[in-house]
């Protein structure tokens, strides 16, 4: 399965994000990796922003898949929730610049297609939260609002971590510990040694 030039450009941009962050993704560097000139990308994307948007769309789809996989692989809804959180955290830690592109970059031009991909991944996560509520593992409040709290907490913890804000002498635990504490508190202080299924991510 060989990649088209367009797909190669997206892959090259993803690798450059991992290697050197946003600033490393210049059209000249992307072109060089693929073996085309620095303005060949304009034949496939309207500009640098649209290329980054394509990276984001691809990763949103992979995250949705990871959430769906957790949902299928775990009989316990709480295990699916913790496993999904772990998958998102792993993605953030291992692909900092890409995580920020998807969840934190205000410049990212989001067309309808990208918005849909982002919403689909959110829906998959939200569905797991709803399952937890039905099993009594999470409080019985409005599902979307509750998902908002959980999503915000995990995102905030990841973002503070990968932006270096948590590394100060703040004594903050790992991102996993923060997420785990939230889940425990939402279960009414029922601290457990619970361990979710180890997440697998099909992201290069």
């Amino acid at each position: 399965m060989i990649e088209t030039t367009k797909q190669q450009l997206v892959s090259a941009a993803s690798r450059l994000l991992d290697a050197g962050g946003q600033e490393a993704v210049t059209l000249r560097a992307v072109g060089e990796r693929v073996g085309v000139s620095h303005n060949a990308p304009y034949r496939h994307f309207s500009g640098r922003g649209a290329l980054l948007g394509a990276v984001a769309k691809r990763d949103f789809n992979m995250l949705k898949q990871a959430f769906d996989d957790q949902n299928s692989a775990n009989d316990s809804p709480e295990a699916a929730l913790r496993g999904s959180a772990a998958a998102l955290i792993a993605y953030g830690i291992e692909h900092k610049a890409r995580y920020r592109l998807l969840f934190s970059d205000p410049q990212l031009p989001s067309d309808a297609i990208l918005k849909e991909a982002a919403f689909d991944s959110f829906k998959a996560f939200s569905g797991i939260v709803a399952r937890c509520q039905q099993h009594g593992a999470l409080p019985d409040v409005d599902t979307v609002s509750l998902t908002g709290v959980i999503y915000a907490t995990i995102h905030g913890a990841i973002d503070l971590e990968i932006s270096g804000r948590a590394s100060g002498a703040k004594g903050l635990g790992s991102v996993e510990a923060t997420a785990s504490l939230l889940f425990d508190l939402l279960r009414n202080h029922g601290a457990t040694g619970y361990s979710a299924t180890r997440p697998t991510l099909a992201i290069e």
Copy 2:
């Protein structure tokens, strides 16, 4: 009280952040606002990054002051907590690019002085959390870890909001609603119509 050239450069950078975001803060635009050449800033800062660091330090100090003010103005610890959250949220909404600079920009060069300013504001917030725990308004777990959860949630909600990620058809409530729901849930589902002292921010 006239500003020194150095202070004028910091103020100009802050206003440019508010008006046009990070990309609008070019040394040429900063210099023009102050009435100096585009490389005059190098006489006061080691470069663009250090100038932005000075903006961040100033704002961290103002936020610490806002938290301390909330702590003094409210007899109820929970009112101080909700007021501090509201102050942080208001700063984020009204100064999006500056908020991101302080709490989310991985490029921001953080020397020891800036780290200390950031830590001091975190400590002020953490002290309010501790007061809430003593009054039974928050669960009796490790204070720093609990502050980490609360801080992550508020930061995550603000960041998703100002990066446009919450505006999709996700049905998410306002940032205030997300923070308020967290506080309610941490009090064991005790939903209240609680209203904190309106925060005031001494930020231009």
